[in-house]
């Protein structure tokens, strides 16, 4: 299962539509402090179903929408779309390319789409269940997670082992 592309619009500091392509191998994300690198990582977590606002460094989930600046009005919605190639048939669907999309409107309404067809959040989490990349896995390793292993708060290590088992 290969990550193909990521499209971000209205999500945190990415007010304008941004498209990133992923190839085989190692993709690097570089840039100055505060440029938006960790926001890209947050976008991937979010579209894969992350529900904990703390994991996304937010006080409220609504903080995920671009909240405006002197020159730009706040965004009306935040949308992230991630595209996978189902090359190993890991995803239980006949599609070769699978796109998952999540939108949060300023009203608080949410929208999930699978290959551009509206669905429930559960449909997405069900799809991802055996792939090892739902939210809450050790696939996304930030320095904070290294801290988690080191601190072992609430037996964090044991939880990681359970997930792997």
């Amino acid at each position: 299962m290969k990550l193909k592309s990521l499209r971000i619009k209205g999500f945190k500091s990415f007010a304008d539509e941004t498209l990133i392509h992923f190839d085989r191998g190692i993709t690097g994300i570089v840039g100055p402090n505060g440029s938006g690198k960790s926001n890209i990582v947050d976008a991937i977590r979010w579209v894969l179903g992350e529900q904990k606002s703390t994991e996304l460094r937010l006080s409220n989930m609504s903080d995920v929408l671009f909240n405006g600046s002197e020159r730009r009005k706040p965004a009306p919605y935040a949308r992230v779309t991630i595209e996978f190639e189902n090359d190993k048939g890991l995803l239980p669907t006949e599609y070769q390319t699978v796109s998952i999309s999540r939108t949060l409107f300023r009203s608080g309404d949410s929208e999930y789409r699978l290959n551009d067809v509206r669905c429930r959040r559960k449909d997405i989490t069900d799809l991802l269940i055996d792939t090892g990349i739902g939210s809450n896995t050790y696939a996304i390793i930030e320095l904070g997670m290294v801290e988690e292993i080191l601190a072992d708060k609430d037996n964090a290590r044991r939880k990681m082992f359970e997930q792997a088992a």
Binding site: S13, T27, V30, S35, I40, G132, F161
Partner: protein, 163 residues
Amino acid sequence: AVELYMNAFERVRANFKEVFRRLFHEGDDCDLVLLHPDDPLHSPIEIVAKPKGKRPRTLRQLSGGEKTLTAIALLFSLYLLKPAPFCIFDEVDAPLDDTNVMKFNQIIREFSQQSQFIVVTHNKLTMAEIDRLYGVFMQESGVSGVAEVSFKDLPQNIEALTS
């Protein structure tokens, strides 16, 4: 359920010994120990490092960089049990010295056959190992932008992107 967990635990423990030795040195050893072996499903897990020639020490007694490297070894040991299609590292190399950054990148290079890796970094040595590089920049309007960049042009690119 206990059997399933113990099976996984033993496999991760074996991986851990191997990855740890690669990230540290040949003669170094380590261990994963269940604090309550009679109750594996709820037992906390102790991480022990046994560097060559020195006394065994728990994670807490290691230096900043050694702790990070040990945690990375554990994360990869879990990964090897059940490889995720992609892994994201956000500035995990920050506390590492040059030698350890290279080791970290070598191990990523090896696993990149099997999974995609996304690495956020400020480290030049790591940047040199990247296949496809995206530069992120913040514009005056408070809006982030992204552009694909090549490592050899990077210094000028970063200047251009952020001015």
